[in-house]
Symmetry: C2
Subunit: 345 residues, 2 copies
């Protein structure tokens, strides 16, 4: 890539959303006098009697978790969405609101309170992949569930209120904004080329190699050209599949493997349990065909300069659009120079 671009303020186009990110590579030198975060210490206990996600413990709702040994999912006790919300269609002049129905679940990744994905065994991560797959298929089949959002908030600075390794699934009747944006870009490319937009992009990235982090037989991890968060990354299946429900057994294992490798690298950047929100974007479950969709998982991690200084998406970012300092290429280079072994192991 032209080297000037790595020294010059510029904007980059996100082919999946149609939006731009402002990149200011010359700006990484500014001093920081602002807020620092607490350095996360590791959870040392494999079981915490006060944790509402540990096996056998009783939750706020009064329900008791089974003595689970495998990833375990249940309906969120404080769900944002409910399956039976009464039908409301509110329209008054310029105001418009409508009921949203849905099901919110919590997915415990492991019975072991002290673990996180990078510290879990690959075979146990494979089970997490399998429970995501199962949930996507089961929730997606329910009437009125037209999109299934699988995600994880990791770390207190990502609003995670419990360090027990877990993620969430919010499934709902309407198709969310971010999915609509990507749907329209996927569709356009499909109509023009009868090929996957993300597949074509992946091909181009594999040829250049500049932003590739890792790959195995079935998956690639990379820093997207249009990354917003400092170390934002994406995991993309090589096969053009629409959703996680289509993974075969080999692919489940390969997905777990690349997930483990990426999250180990993340922990190694600042030798800390690296916070992020991750999420899977895939085809809606409204019964329509989405041949254009190409399932992928993204990671949005906020840490920028150290284990305690994050990138704030505020002010300009909220009112105008996202901005980043280090380039995607610099982030990829940094990750690729790190050891593949977790710093604690």
């Amino acid at each position: 890539m032209q080297s000037e671009i790595n020294n010059t303020p510029h904007r980059r186009y996100n082919i999946l959303t149609g939006e731009w990110v402002l990149v200011s590579p010359h700006r990484t030198k500014r001093p920081w006098q602002g807020k620092t975060e607490e350095k996360k210490t590791l959870q040392k206990h494999t079981y915490d009697p006060s944790c509402y996600l540990c096996p056998g413990n009783t939750r706020a709702s009064g329900e008791t978790n089974p003595d689970y040994r495998q990833p375990y999912s249940f309906v969120n006790d404080f769900a944002s969405l409910l399956p039976d919300s009464p039908e409301i269609n509110f329209e008054e002049g310029l105001l418009k609101a409508e009921t949203e129905q849905g099901i919110c679940k919590v997915v415990c990744f492991s019975p072991d309170h002290s673990l996180t994905l990078p510290l879990m065994e690959e075979k146990d991560i494979t089970r997490v992949v399998q429970i995501w797959k199962k949930e996507y298929l089961e929730l997606g089949e329910k009437p009125n569930i037209n999109y299934v959002q699988i995600f994880e908030n990791k770390g207190a600075i990502m609003g995670c209120s419990n360090p027990h390794p877990h993620g969430q699934i919010w499934s709902q009747s309407s198709i969310p904004t971010e999915i609509l944006k990507k749907s329209s870009k996927f569709r356009k490319h499909w109509q023009e080329h009868k090929r996957s937009l993300l597949g074509d992009y992946l091909q181009q990235e594999l040829e250049s190699g500049e932003r590739i982090l890792d790959q195995n037989e079935h998956f690639v991890s990379l820093i997207p050209f249009w990354a917003v968060w400092p170390f934002e990354a994406m995991i993309v299946p090589k096969r053009h599949i629409q959703h996680i429900g289509q993974l075969n057994e080999d692919e489940e294992i390969a997905f777990a493997e690349i997930l483990k490798k990426l999250t180990i690298k993340y922990d190694n950047i600042f030798e800390t349990s690296f916070p992020y929100s991750s999420g899977i974007h895939q085809a809606p479950t409204d019964g329509k065909a989405y041949p254009e969709w190409h399932f992928h998982m993204s990671f949005y991690p906020p840490l920028l300069r150290s284990a305690t200084v994050k990138k704030f998406m505020v002010g300009y970012e909220m009112f105008a659009g996202p901005q980043r300092d280090i380039t995607a290429e610099q982030a990829a280079k940094r990750l690729n120079q790190l050891p593949e072994k977790h710093y604690l192991q």
Copy 2:
């Protein structure tokens, strides 16, 4: 408004952006075990020798601030945008990037290090309004400055690295994503009705009164029906003007007055210096006519439950779309019950 809506998960449409917000009013009861923020203590010194924004002090760049007595602006020493970035047009297969040129400025609201907008005198806030107006007009006239984003990040949890009362202005050659969204909605309504979309909305809100916070001869403050942040608010001029440059003298004073009142209410919610990002959205400065645009200022404050517990826009919000717990009507009611006098005065 139908009362069910205040108990039922639903989504609301933002007429200015075309996007939806998920509202889960039944969810405010859940307990919080997650991250709390430090309670902000007040700045007690009117002058801080180590503050790079105080009058007479030397900044990181080596420049010395004048002994200013009025709001004072200067070019950001660590600007994200530079006026003379070399022209780059990068297009390689699916990758697309282009140079972004611009000017970033810092605006000190007051020489007094200990103040914030709610604690400033109305006549001094009027001077802040005047410097915003001047900067909008001056920057907007420069070649290649097609949009002027005025904003403030207040509080350490909003990434503000210095408590000295100040805001920023990032002005640039391209028109940012958020502005493009609103432009298209304003334009559509204008073409259909030859009226301001926001003006029509304001009319409807004034008739209902349910979400109105305050008004004077020239301005209204309200919680928009589609608010995303817990206590998000908007200040809208009654006169349909496109940008801050069109304010007359009376309107400048009225703007300052309503700004002070809103920010006092904010501080009173949790008896703390209330953090937020605020920003002005207005017509681009690319020389075209924008009769449809209706200038307004928005506040995005993160605090939700107390001075130390904020709403996290993570996980679901990043991957699907925004979600809130308390409704806009509840937020308006809460603000309207608070005293008009600042809790410290």
